[in-house]
C-alpha cells in the first residue's frame, strides 16, 4: 500500500479546512434574501475536526469555500442594488445565470430592489430560458412587480398635480364638480 499520496492529500485537506474555517470565522454569514434567509443563513459547521476522514475534510473545505463565495457574491449584490447605474444593473442580471440557486435568488431580489423597469426584457428572456417552474414563476412575479410605478414616482406625480392646482384624487363621496358631475347622494 502506497501511503505517500494519501498523506499528501490529508495535509492538503487539513490546510484547506483550516484556511476556510479561519475565513468563515472572520466573515458574516449570508445577508437577507427574503423567505430563504433561514436556509442561506444556516450556520456553517466548523471544519477542522481532526478525527474526520481526509475526504470528508476536503469536502467540508470545498463546501466552506463555496459558502464564502456565495456570501461574498450576495453581499456584493446587496451593495449593487442600491446603485442607479446601468453597469450595476448589468452586474446584478449577470448573476441571474449563476449556477448557485441562492445567488440567483439574491440576484432576483436585488433586481427588484434596483427598481428599474429596463431590467424587464432581460428578466423575461431569463424566464423563458428557465426550466425550473418555481423559479420561472418567481421571475414572472418580479416582472409584474417591476412594471408597477414606484411610490416615489407616484408621490412626484401627486406633487405635480397639486402644484398645477389639479385634484390628486376624488373619492366617491366628493361633491359635484367637473370631474365628478353627480352628487354623492345619487351615486350607486
Amino acid at each position: 500500500m502506497n501511503l505517500k499520496p494519501l498523506t499528501s492529500k490529508w495535509r492538503l485537506a487539513l490546510v484547506l479546512a483550516g484556511i476556510s474555517a479561519l475565513m468563515t470565522a472572520c466573515h458574516r454569514l449570508p445577508p437577507p434574501t427574503g423567505g430563504t434567509a433561514a436556509v442561506q443563513g444556516k450556520p456553517v459547521p466548523l471544519a477542522a475536526n481532526s478525527g474526520a476522514a481526509p475526504d470528508t475534510n476536503a469536502f467540508a473545505a470545498a463546501e466552506l469555500a463555496h459558502a464564502k463565495y456565495v456570501h461574498e457574491t450576495i453581499e456584493r449584490l446587496v451593495s449593487l442594488q442600491m446603485n442607479d447605474d446601468p453597469a450595476s444593473l448589468a452586474a446584478i442580471l449577470a448573476e441571474m445565470k449563476n449556477s448557485d440557486k441562492a445567488i440567483r435568488d439574491a440576484a432576483l431580489k436585488a433586481t427588484i430592489q434596483f427598481n428599474d423597469r429596463s431590467a424587464i426584457p432581460a428578466l423575461q428572456k431569463i424566464a423563458d430560458e428557465t426550466t425550473d417552474p418555481y423559479e420561472k414563476v418567481d421571475i414572472l412575479k418580479a416582472i409584474d412587480y417591476l412594471k408597477l410605478p414606484s411610490f416615489t414616482e407616484y408621490m412626484a406625480y401627486r406633487r405635480s398635480l397639486k402644484a398645477a392646482g389639479q385634484p390628486t384624487n376624488a373619492p366617491a363621496d366628493a361633491p359635484m364638480s367637473a370631474t365628478n358631475p353627480t352628487p354623492a347622494a345619487v351615486q350607486p
Partner: protein
C-alpha cells in the same frame, strides 16, 4: 460583541478622530448601533381612484392604482421626513438596541436617522414606526445550554408598520397615513463551542392596511384643492436579517436575548 463589529467600532473611532472619508465628513450621525438587522421592503400600496361617470350610458366605474415600495422608496420617504439627502450607501435597518427602524450609513453602524422617533417641529410631524415583535405569539424551538451548544427558535408574532406624515409646511403635498398589522415570523439560531459562536436572526413581516389616505379631492372655484379621505390597501413583505460568526467566548454570545425579546 461580534468580531466584525469590533472592527467597525475601531474604524468608526478612527473616523471620529480625524480620518477623512467623504461619507463620514458629510454625514451627521445621531447615534451608533452594533445590533441591527438589514431590512428589505417589498410592499405594494393600492389607492382608490376617482370614480368615473359616463353620462351617456349612466355608468359609474370604480378602480384603484397600485404602486410598489422598495428600499429606495422608503429611503426617499425618510429623506423627506428628515429634510435631507442620504450619503451613498445609506441603508435601512431595524435597530435591536432602540427597537425601531433607522437609516444607517454604509458601515451599517452609524445612525443617520431614527425613523421611529421621526420629526416633530413647527412645520412637519412625521415618523415611520416598524415593530415586527409588536404582539408576541407562539414559538417553538430548542435550547442546548452546554458547550458546545445551540439554540434554535421560530416565533409567530404580530408586527406593525405605521407611516405618518403631516406636512403642513407644503400644504400636505406629501401627507400619508399608513397603519398596517400582520403576521410576523421570527427566526433565531445560534451554535457555539468553546471558541466560536455562529448564528443569525431575522423576521418576515407581512403588513396589511386598509386605512384611509388623504388626497386632494376637488379643486374649488377659488382654485384651492379640498382634502378628502380615500381608501388604501397595503400588502407585501418586510424582511429583517442579521448574522454573525465570531470567536467570542460563549458567555458573550447573544443567545440570552432569545427570540422572545
Amino acid at each position: 460583541m461580534k468580531l466584525n463589529k469590533i472592527a467597525l467600532v475601531a474604524l468608526s473611532a478612527a473616523l471620529a478622530f480625524g480620518a477623512k472619508s467623504s461619507t463620514a465628513a458629510d454625514a451627521k450621525y445621531v447615534g451608533y448601533t452594533t445590533d441591527h438587522q438589514s431590512l428589505t421592503f417589498s410592499l405594494q400600496l393600492a389607492t382608490q381612484q376617482p370614480q368615473q361617470y359616463n353620462s351617456a350610458i349612466h355608468l359609474w366605474t370604480d378602480s384603484f392604482k397600485t404602486v410598489k415600495l422598495t428600499n429606495k422608496d422608503i429611503l426617499a420617504l425618510l429623506a423627506f421626513m428628515a429634510q435631507t439627502t442620504w450619503p451613498t450607501g445609506a441603508q435601512l435597518e431595524y435597530d435591536d438596541e432602540s427597537s425601531q427602524l433607522i437609516v444607517a450609513d454604509k458601515t451599517g453602524n452609524n445612525v443617520l436617522f431614527y425613523a421611529g422617533e421621526g420629526v416633530d417641529n413647527e412645520s412637519l410631524y412625521a415618523y415611520l414606526r416598524l415593530n415586527p415583535y409588536y404582539r408576541e405569539g407562539v414559538y417553538s424551538g430548542t435550547q442546548q445550554n452546554s458547550t458546545p451548544g445551540s439554540e434554535n427558535y421560530t416565533g409567530f408574532d404580530v408586527g406593525i408598520l405605521d407611516i405618518y406624515i403631516d406636512d403642513w409646511f407644503d400644504d400636505y403635498a406629501n401627507y400619508m397615513d399608513i397603519y398596517g398589522y400582520g403576521a410576523s415570523t421570527t427566526l433565531w439560531s445560534e451554535s457555539w463551542d468553546s471558541n466560536k459562536a455562529n448564528g443569525f436572526h431575522g423576521f418576515s413581516f407581512s403588513p396589511v392596511d386598509t386605512s384611509s389616505g388623504y388626497e386632494d379631492g376637488v379643486v374649488s372655484p377659488s382654485g384651492k384643492a379640498n382634502n378628502y379621505s380615500s381608501y388604501q390597501y397595503l400588502t407585501g413583505t418586510i424582511t429583517g436579517f442579521e448574522s454573525w460568526s465570531s470567536v467570542n467566548n460563549p458567555s458573550a454570545r447573544k443567545h440570552s436575548k432569545s427570540p422572545k425579546h
